[in-house]
């Protein structure tokens, strides 16, 4: 077995720099991930921060000049994003570019990429000590538009609404951007304070993945945070979702020709729990592959849905089934989705189906390291769950799981929420 390839350096109690070097790539990617607890009061101001940061920094105060600079670094891709990881909101900044070895004139671009990334995070433009009113107004509107445009993609919109219904009262029910009303009320002062608090109190994970030399980025990280006071951070762990009481049902109407049915289940199994792999395998068998019960029975045999898939959110222990279905088939699809779960709970699946789910997961695991994004996401997850497992080791762990483990996992699954998005007419 090869050694665990993640090299981890502590910068301070809540700031770490980690790197994975792999010669197969032609590129390098450096990302900064700031974890803060999801809270209704702060979620929108935090969400707005990366939008404003991406517009410039003290070194490149002009947005156009910054983007021109990125062009000249062979189109190095500077990205900011807002994610949800269990009970945490994650503010991400990253830069990806080709390695020095492939430049046309032998430039040292890793150094410049790192410089720009840290400048964006730590040296923003703050004329008079505040983010400028102009940038605030512009980016506030961009964020409002983004929230409002989520309705354009009906599949993801339905999933988001289902989770909000399911997790009302749980931090996970809070949208990563918050609400339009909250965004509207953010002032220059509030945004600047949110930024200062984020930098001081977030758990910060910096990752370098690529074929180049991470030492340049590590030195820059140490320098950047050297004289910055940092408060103890809340950590990055999450609580499992626990459902209570009767099944929640919600139906919404919009003008759509294909309805969406989303069913949310609680499992009580999450993060690094011992039976986490059994639950993931159960999900694959149930609705994670084209050979799964849901795909084969609900879609192929009964033609009830165009898509019908299950996914498992490890941080919260939530299982979601989402499907695109004709209006008149909603009830039938619902029954069939539950019937297929009962089949697994009763152990009425074949050895072949079981083995195929294992094979599919093992194969996916072995391919994780073939992309920068896959590698980064994998090791960031290990950090989040406090585990130290390579994809190859995880594949071996999966092979130890038995049919009985999967049946036991399925028996922990409880229907919590049924969400339907359907057309207005008829």
């Amino acid at each position: 077995m090869t050694a665990y390839p993640l090299n981890r350096t502590k910068i301070s109690d809540s700031i770490y720099f980690s790197s994975v070097v792999d010669a197969r790539y032609k590129t390098n990617r450096i990302s900064i991930n700031l974890f803060i607890p999801l809270q209704k009061e702060t979620v929108s101001a935090n969400a707005l921060i990366p939008f404003v940061l991406r517009k410039g920094c003290a070194d490149y105060p002009d947005f156009t000049q910054l983007n021109q600079k990125l062009y000249s670094l062979y189109g190095s891709y500077l990205d900011t994003d807002v994610r949800k990881s269990g009970d945490n909101q994650v503010i991400g900044l990253s830069i990806t570019g080709i390695d020095n070895a492939y430049t046309l004139e032998g430039e040292n671009i890793i150094k410049e990429m790192t410089d720009i990334l840290f400048a964006i995070l730590l040296r923003p433009c703050l004329p008079d000590g505040l983010f400028s009113e102009k940038e605030l107004n512009l980016e506030r509107q961009m964020l409002i538009d983004l929230i409002e445009s989520e309705i354009n993609e009906k599949r993801s919109y339905a999933i988001r609404r289902a989770l909000e219904t399911m997790c009302a009262g749980d931090p996970y029910g809070i949208d990563k951007y918050g609400t339009v009303e909250q965004v509207k009320s953010i002032s220059q002062k509030e945004l600047t304070e949110a930024y200062r608090s984020l930098i001081r109190s977030a758990s910060i994970e910096i990752l370098f993945v690529g074929c180049g030399n991470p030492e340049i980025a590590l030195q820059e990280t140490k320098k950047a945070f050297a004289d910055m006071p940092h408060l103890p951070a809340a950590g990055i762990t999450s609580q499992a979702f626990s459902g209570h009481g009767p099944v929640k049902e919600k139906t919404e109407k919009l003008q759509v020709s294909q309805s969406k049915l989303v069913m949310g289940f609680s499992t009580g199994v999450h993060a690094a729990d011992p039976d986490i792999n059994a639950m993931r395998l159960m999900t694959a068998l149930y609705g994670g592959t084209p050979l799964s019960r849901l795909f084969q029975h609900v879609r192929e045999k009964l033609s009830l849905c165009y898509y019908c898939a299950a996914r498992f959110d490890r941080a919260k222990g939530i299982l979601l089934v989402d499907s695109g279905v004709e209006k008149q088939n909603i009830q039938k699809a619902k029954e069939e989705i539950l019937r297929q779960l009962a089949v697994i709970q009763d152990g009425a699946f074949t050895d072949q189906e079981f083995e195929q789910a294992v094979l599919s997961m093992v194969d996916n695991l072995k391919s994780v390291n073939d992309s920068l994004g896959g590698t980064e996401a994998w090791y960031l997850q290990q950090i989040c769950y406090g585990t130290k497992v390579t994809p190859e080791e995880e594949a071996q762990n999966l092979r130890q799981i038995t049919r009985d483990d999967v049946i036991a996992a399925a028996q922990k699954v409880r229907l919590d929420t049924i969400y339907v998005l359907t057309g207005e007419e008829e």
Binding site: R24, Y71, Y102, L138, E148, T289
Partner: protein, 425 residues
Amino acid sequence: MSQKEIFKSERIREEYIRVQHPSGLTILLYPMKGYSSVYAIFGTHYGSTNRTFKTAADPEFVTVPDGIAHYLEHKMFESKEGDAFALFAKTGASANAFTSFDRTCYLFSCADHFQESLEILLSFVRDPYFTDENVQKEQGIIGQEIRMYDDNANWRVFFNLLGALYQNHPVKIDIAGTVESIAKIDKDLLYRCYRTFYSLQNMVLAIAGNFDPDEALAIADQLLTPDTDPQIQRSDYNEPAEIAKPEVVQQMEVSMPLFAIGYKMEPCSGIQEVQAGIETEIVNLLLCGSGSPLYRRLYDQGLISPSFGSDTMSGFGYFCSVFEGESRNPRAVYTALNQELERLKQEGIPKEDFENVKKALYGDYVCSFNSVERVANGLVQAHFSGVDIYDTVEVAARVTLEDVTRRLMQFDQNRCAISIVEPKA
């Protein structure tokens, strides 16, 4: 024994093997050092736009219903013994297929059991099994797929633009066809299209990643029997240079108007298409890329958002440049884009801007060699375009300001259309 030809790129320090297999199939083998997975594509040069064609055996050109290439793709997964997904499941590979304007590809990716998966891929695509009953049953599933796309505002705004740019070319028609057109598809038509376009002479096998080329060739030797060349003639589309209409508007359930603005240009093929594609990408970025003055102005006025972007699309009989995004006032973006075009034409492209954008594009092409999926797809695309996969990166390294200036002059306001999807009143 098949003849192996090696193609090399000094620039990115890689190489691959090309084999003209005795069966008629072109095989492209691209082993990638250090990778764990393999990505294999078995593709035919046949997509949604191949509506009218004839072979040496046909007396006349035949026109088939729209959406049939995609329909065929769905049906290929079925055989007497069950569906191909079931076979792949036994190896753990992830299998899929897609149909585009000019090709239909069957593919799998895997880390283990590569040989078994390749055997499955090369077998099921060679073994059509269409019955009246199974063809009829597919109408329901594909009908649902079409309706799903009908709800997708991004998809609609794009196809509406193609409808505005093209008068006759079937590129303007949804790849899956329409509920009406697929109702005309039957077993016999599917077999006819299959026999015409799934001849190995019209196909390619491209494999990238962690595998042994000799093992792959041995499997091809064992499974593939020679196909005759059907001598396909594809009808040209009689597409005039003029656009169909300058504007098309549809109302849908969206929060803000979506738009797509396109410039229709003269189609080309082979290395000219690669060259024209790169020149056009550069013009797109100079006109309204994130580092351009126009992008800044529109952004600061709240007229475009970070979702704004541009693309070049081309194929047999079509070539256009497309700008897409969301805006409160899409017509203002349209006007500004055309004004900027005229300004650039008059004032010329600043040398430094050109050099920066060229580097950005070059970096992006180098990045594509990071991914087994992108390499395999790149091989297929290059093969069907009649070029080499390294041509793109090579042309990007050599393109000049003069080339790009000439291309700029071909962006014509009179051949520009806008498609808008606006919120329901």
